[in-house]
């Protein structure tokens, strides 16, 4: 986000397209290839969905994009710079531009919410403790958790933990926010509120958002663009705006997924 969207567009923004590029990416665990030849581009400021059935490698793809797993082949580029081939120092600098919301929130349980958000601020900025506390309170307010600064993760509900995880992901004003299954474990209303929050934050912060999910409601509500991973063919079998995929995609596997039809039924009867 680096927010940087001043009213008069004062920020120096790189080219509008191609914020993240994934080129010929092959993901493998040893000899076992999970996905091969993945190619796609995420545009700046859009909400990009990585979808597919359970166990097809969606989260693995995200973990490749944020450098937790090294690709077997291919590379990931941010603003045209290779993240995969970057040296340790350069990679660390690039990592600070990411914010990641993990499935379970992954809040550090021995720290309060304010300390969770304050840790990266203390490490990577020159802010004083009081300023860090103020920024942490603001980030918590942005996700609707004003007043919960001194609570430990175990003292709040699962949905609140997820939102606190989002506040932590936003701590350093990242340019790219990654969400791993944001709806997992949330009731439909909380899930919908989180979707709205993601839209609000994207619209106002200008961050690029990459979401790994198989929740249809979320996919259609927030997705600008998407790729569909398929386990059997081990690659992307469809890409485009989710609503357009639903309307135009002829591939029965994608159609079944997007219409929640059972296996081998309804392909040509609807």
């Amino acid at each position: 986000m680096a927010v940087s969207k001043s009213a008069n567009g004062g920020g120096s923004r790189p080219q509008p397209d191609g914020h993240i590029q994934v080129r010929d990416l092959t993901m493998a665990y040893g000899e076992h290839v999970v996905m091969r030849d993945l190619n796609f581009t995420v545009k700046r400021g859009e909400i990009f969905i990585i979808m597919g059935g359970s166990g097809c490698g969606k989260s693995t793809l995200m973990r490749h994009m944020i450098g937790l797993i090294e690709p077997a082949a291919g590379e990931v580029l941010y603003d045209g710079k290779s993240f995969t081939k970057a040296g340790p120092g350069e990679r660390e600098a690039m990592l600070r531009r990411f914010g990641v919301l993990y499935q379970g929130g992954a809040l550090w349980s021995s720290m309060t919410l304010a300390e969770n958000i304050g840790l990266p601020l203390g490490e990577f900025t020159d802010l004083s403790p009081a300023e860090i506390r103020a920024v942490a309170a603001l980030k918590l307010a942005l996700v609707g958790l004003s007043g919960f600064e001194d609570f430990y993760p175990s003292e709040i509900s699962g949905g609140m933990q997820k939102r606190a995880g989002l506040a932590r992901a936003m701590a350093l004003d990242p340019e790219v926010l990654f969400f791993d299954e944001p709806s997992a474990g949330l009731d439909p209303i909380s899930s919908s509120l989180l979707d709205e929050l993601i839209l609000d934050l994207r619209d106002n912060l200008g961050a690029t958002v990459v979401v790994v999910t198989h929740e249809l409601a979320s996919i259609f509500k927030i997705g600008d663009d998407s790729v569909f991973l398929e386990a059997e063919s081990k690659t992307i079998i469809a890409s485009g705006a989710p609503k357009e995929l639903l309307a135009n995609c002829r591939d029965p596997r994608v159609h079944r997924f997007l219409t929640r039809a059972g296996p081998e039924i309804g392909d040509h009867h609807g």
């Binding site: 004062g10 349980s109 021995s110 020159d126 300023e131 920024v135 004003s146 007043g147 106002n204």
Partner: protein, 382 residues
């Protein structure tokens, strides 16, 4: 107009207009990495007599901004609310205005975020006493459940996997031989060395063998083995069971009608009860070997003479007493390890705390029971 330079790259200046409005000019780049101004810088503008009626923002020369500006404007807004001053945000960039609205929207009920206050000393003392009593109750309840589980075992009704038992036996027995060898040998060396320095003065160096043999067999072997097993095995029991609790594996067992006490605690207590005397016996042997190395290397005693003196000095009740103590220590370590695992909270830090508690509890129980044994054995003249 007064201009205040706030930081190298960030600019903030104030202007008072005729109608009682304080106009805040925001200029340049606002970057969190370069620090941020505090809303308290506004305080002088609010001094009695000159306090503005309204605050407005002007951002025509504002370049890039991030959370530092957001945080500043948010703090200023709160200050205005506290002082009853109207804040006009129309001069701010639209994205920033929207974010402020988002931050001010209340999602959670106010009561949920009950303010945390520090309780008084009396309250803390009371809570600590209640917690201790509760913990004692839970320990007794756990002890009761373990006894019931052993009752089921005696009747052949307890359910656990034999493979778990053998794995635990291997883990706490055979896999621990290396560290038990090292520590016991060194303890034997230390005992012999300390004895040798004194006994040499009287030409009684041969009695170093008696000292080491009796000391090791009666107490040191059992104590040192217990300390090693506490750190290696007891802590591992707690960490394993605690993690299972965090990941709801224990709940899954309970809801399937499998008793976690029988399934997890029984094999651990049985394994440690069986292995501790064996480890202790091995530790006694290694201690005597350690003593013999000093006897041979420093005192010029032949290994045969040293071992002959050791065997002569040792009585069956010394050895059996030590083994009995180690058996009791084994039960205590397994009990403390499993108990703390079951009492563990639901977070990763709780697992760490539970493990620490298990080690401390085991050591205290071992030392206390060692003292009791000393008194009882003395009364029984063992």
């Amino acid at each position: 107009m007064r201009i205040e330079q706030v930081a190298a790259n960030e600019n903030l200046s104030f202007e008072k207009t005729g109608d009682g409005t304080l106009l805040i000019h925001l200029q340049g780049a606002w970057r969190m990495h370069h620090g941020m101004p505090s809303a308290s810088r506004m305080e002088p503008e609010f001094r009695a007599g000159s306090s503005p009626r309204r605050i407005a923002f002007e951002a025509a020369k504002l370049a890039e901004w991030d959370s530092s500006l957001l945080s500043f404007v948010w703090s200023v807004s709160e200050l205005c609310i506290r002082r009853g001053i109207e804040a006009d945000r129309t001069g701010l960039p639209p994205g920033l205005r929207n974010l402020l609205e988002l931050a001010e929207a209340v999602h959670e009920k106010e009561d949920d975020s009950r303010a945390k206050r520090r309780p008084s000393l009396v309250e803390r003392l009371g809570r600590a006493s209640i917690a201790t009593a509760d913990s004692l109750g839970e320990s007794l309840s756990f002890l009761g459940q373990v006894v019931v589980a052993f009752g089921n075992l005696a009747r052949g009704k307890a359910r656990y996997r034999a493979s778990d038992l053998f794995e635990t036996i291997q883990e706490c027995g055979a896999n621990g031989l290396g560290i038990v060898s090292l520590v016991s040998f060194l303890v034997g060396v230390i005992l012999a060395f300390m004895g040798a320095v004194q006994l040499q003065q009287f030409g009684a160096q041969i009695y170093v063998a008696d000292l080491v043999a009796i000391g090791t067999a009666r107490d040191m072997g059992a104590i040192m083995t217990a300390m090693i097993v506490t750190g290696r095995t007891g802590a591992a029991f707690t960490a394993r069971i605690g993690t299972m609790k965090v990941t709801e594996e224990i709940d899954a067992m309970t809801t399937m009608g499998i008793s976690p006490i029988e399934f997890l605690v029984l094999p651990r207590i049985i394994a440690l009860t069986l292995m501790m005397p064996l480890l202790c016996l091995y530790s006694d042997f290694m201690g005597i070997i350690g003593g013999a190395s000093i006897g041979a290397g420093m005192l010029g005693l032949s290994p045969a003479a040293y071992m002959g003196e050791s065997i002569h000095a040792l009585h069956a009740h010394d050895l059996l007493g030590g083994l009995f103590k180690s058996l009791v220590y084994g039960i205590l370590i397994a009990f403390a390890g499993c108990l703390c695992g079951f009492e563990c909270g639901n977070s990763s830090s709780a697992v760490g705390e539970a493990t620490t508690r298990a080690v401390v509890m085991s050591i205290v129980l071992i030392v206390v029971s060692c003292g009791i044994f000393a008194v009882v054995f003395n009364i029984l003249k063992i």
